[in-house]
Point group: C2
Chain length 208, copies 2
Amino acid sequence: MSGQNISKSTLQRLPLYLNHLKSLPENTSGNISATAIAEAIKLNDVQVRKDLASVSKSGKPKVGYNTKELIKELEVFLGYENNNNAIIVGAGKLGMALMGYIGFKEYGLNILMAFDTDKNVVNEQELVMPIEKLPEICRRMRIKIGIITVPASFAQEVCNLLVESGVLAIWNFAPVHLNVPDGILVQNENMAASLAVLSNHLSEKMNN
Amino acid sequence: MSGQNISKSTLQRLPLYLNHLKSLPENTSGNISATAIAEAIKLNDVQVRKDLASVSKSGKPKVGYNTKELIKELEVFLGYENNNNAIIVGAGKLGMALMGYIGFKEYGLNILMAFDTDKNVVNEQELVMPIEKLPEICRRMRIKIGIITVPASFAQEVCNLLVESGVLAIWNFAPVHLNVPDGILVQNENMAASLAVLSNHLSEKMNN
DNA sequence: TAGATTGTTAATCGATTAACAATC
DNA sequence: TAGATTGTTAATCGATTAACAATC
């Protein structure tokens, strides 16, 4: 029912709108226009209007959107009121950091535990489990989101294991392409790609 | 000289190519074609060929690229052999995790220290400095890269401070748009956007 | 009524992909 | 020479933006 036929680029802008709305002082009139949002976050107003139209039917000509209502609609649409359980594979620095990061709770993501092959990092008290237990735990707890923070060379293997264990969406921090069957989503968080952009900008700047 | 006129999308794919090349066994013929790379990472072959053409002149018809040479060219282009010093603003969980993450070294990124406004987290022995020292340190050490991991509501303010302190490229982990003067690059690493994509996929799956 | 705003249809733009010519 | 591959020019596609009609 929710979230059909919405482009990935639209989807990725929605949190920006939500964040902006939440940052507004409570006292303001109660309504806000797509134009005002666009102005604030430096996007095209038609784009914002189109994006919002795919989430809400409550926009009114001359009036705009009721701010609180729109916030609510965005939160529901983005699933911030759900509690999506997830697990992490790869209990290195990055993996443990993500597991410890409380900020994801706000977005409805609940990271339950991590898995690793390395016996030295496994520590069941601290919720770092041996990888062998992954399939059974994922099935039993109906985990649908897997986060991959292993080195690139192991990522595909881990991905396969997650898919076999019933995971439907994968958040991939390894800088590699993952092959998955139809119906499984891979969202890449490629920090190497970001660094490429930063580094390229600097080398352009420096050589002028 | 390096890195002119190259699209952001191309730039972001380059690390994937490099990673794939490095993953190949040493013993293979020594040459590789754009077609083979494209096949391996499931991209269009023309796209790979175009991307590589913007980095290397060493491709030869019928032969392809010399693997080692291409690896070298990509590494140089991506600045992996440089040592770009960077600082982090926001010494919370995420900030400290990024600071502790050794993986960035490989990409030529060297995170020297973190800054925070909170006196309780400041700890100069552990390289967490009070924000007041940021401008002077950045100028003195000629820091060109700033990483923002503060809450969304402080991000613009921190961004301004970084720009005033001579930073030229900003890696922004806060889910907000940042306004910067011409010539300053902002690269957004918007995890909320990624989570939106994951969550939307799950809600589609669940409602079928 | 006039103005502000929504939502839609059409035009533009950039990136991807296809077709093809050049070459070791 | 024939085949594989590069690199380029043209076609396609999707997303963004502009123009405009509808409406509180």
